[in-house]
Amino acid sequence: MSTLDINNIGEFLAHAHALEAEAASQYADLAEQMEVHNNTEVAELFHKLAEIEGKHIGKIDDKAGDTPIPHIPPWEYKWEGGQSPEAVVDMDAHYMMTPHHALRMSLKAEERAADFFQRIADNTTDEEVRSLSAEMAEEERDHIKWLNEWLKKYPEPENGWDEDMDPPMLQE
């Protein structure tokens, strides 16, 4: 894994804001997809996750206060592999997915986010970045705990959860 060097508070806040904003928008999109496919239980769950991420954006903006945050084009963030660490892998989505699958997807994303913030905290030369990034890493770890608790309510479904006797048709 490559090292991450973010040594400027503006750059750090831009990354933190983009990471949460992307996650919120992705969860909102996934919620919409589930609504379209009438998977209301998972839609609700994704809406809830979007709401939580939305609150994080507010928190980051509060922390930013008067600090100017530079605009960074999406492809110039220091994300490993080019995508935000908190982005879920949407190829894993399925119209019949269960809350278990959704929570697992989210858990992986939170783990990547915690690792991202921790690596910044470990590598930075800027004290303000270090303390804020360590705080964010801690918050992400809290989410991981909370998602794991939530997952206990939704054990892995048995094989065949994706069998559809009447698959949807899209024709024009």
């Binding site: 997809q33 949407d90 119209y95």
Partner: protein, 279 residues
């Protein structure tokens, strides 16, 4: 100050998304391509009223409904003539054409070649999933000959169409390949394609998770092109002829001047023209 500073683009990617909820299968690569398109528009600071997204028919061709700018969801395979007509009449607009491998290379194959040849300043995005998704999984021109499924038992046995090679031979001025799993990298490619004058062709490998679940492994197959873009056509030809189909990046950047006929005075109003077609 919040994250929206003075330096940020005028419109966020979300501003280019319509309120219509996509009906694609969850997991489809086209969601991510839509995200790349809106990110590219945002970074280019385009005003939605100066952008048109034109398409034919297919799952991938639904994009005009999901974008909030001008749009036209046209007839199967005919997006390119529509878009070329619009662009030559309104050269001030940014025109992006969205298509699939069936729409673009089967029924629209002839338009594809001539659009490359004409070199009108368009960006042609083909979401290639090597299958007809919308009509439930028939083989397309880019399908592997040994793709064995219920509709082509044992595979079609037909050698696949090579869109990038054809685009180069026919005269496209910009050729690139992206992958839907790399939304940000693809947004960058699209920005470059839109900025480059003339006909820009971007093939985006975009898995159809429903009829080609095997394409989920594409994330391990794609790799950055090992060489920088070239404007030298011979070198580009050698590169594309030996391409493994998974090189991503800008593969050719030509210098041909875009085709733009002079715009004369209008000789008729839209109402006059409509009158001629009245039954």
């Amino acid at each position: 100050m919040t994250a929206e500073t003075a330096l940020a683009p005028k419109h966020s990617p979300r501003d280019y998304k319509s309120d219509i909820k996509p009906v694609w299968c969850p997991g489809c690569g086209d969601y991510s391509v839509l995200g790349s398109i809106t990110k590219a528009f945002s970074e280019l600071n385009l005003d939605p009223e100066n952008v048109a997204v034109i398409s034919g028919i297919g799952c991938s061709s639904r994009i005009p409904a999901y974008t909030d700018c001008y749009g036209f969801h046209g007839v199967h395979g005919r997006s390119l003539p529509l878009a070329a007509g619009l662009k030559v009449a309104r050269p001030d607009m940014t025109v992006l054409v969205a298509s699939g491998d069936g729409d673009g290379f089967s029924i629209g194959g002839n338009h594809f070649m001539h659009a490359c040849r004409r070199n009108v300043d368009l960006t042609y995005v083909v979401m290639d999933n090597r299958v007809y998704g919308m009509t439930k999984g028939q083989a397309s021109p880019t399908t592997e000959p040994d793709w064995d499924n219920a509709l082509t038992p044992g595979g079609s046995g037909i050698s696949p169409f090579r869109p990038l090679v054809i685009a180069l031979a026919a005269g496209a001025n910009f050729i690139a390949r992206g992958f839907s799993g790399d939304q940000n990298g693809t947004a960058k490619l699209l920005k470059e394609a839109i900025e480059h004058p003339g006909f820009s062709f971007v093939q985006i490998l975009s898995p159809c998770v429903t009829f080609r679940p095997d394409q989920k492994t594409w994330k391990d197959d794609v790799h950055d092109a090992a060489v920088d873009p070239t404007d030298e056509i011979g070198r580009a030809a050698r590169r594309l002829m030996t391409d493994d189909g998974f090189n991503t990046g800008v593969l050719y950047k030509g210098e041909r001047e875009a085709f733009q006929p002079p715009i004369g005075e209008a000789t008729a109003t839209v109402a006059d023209l409509e009158g001629k077609f009245a039954l």
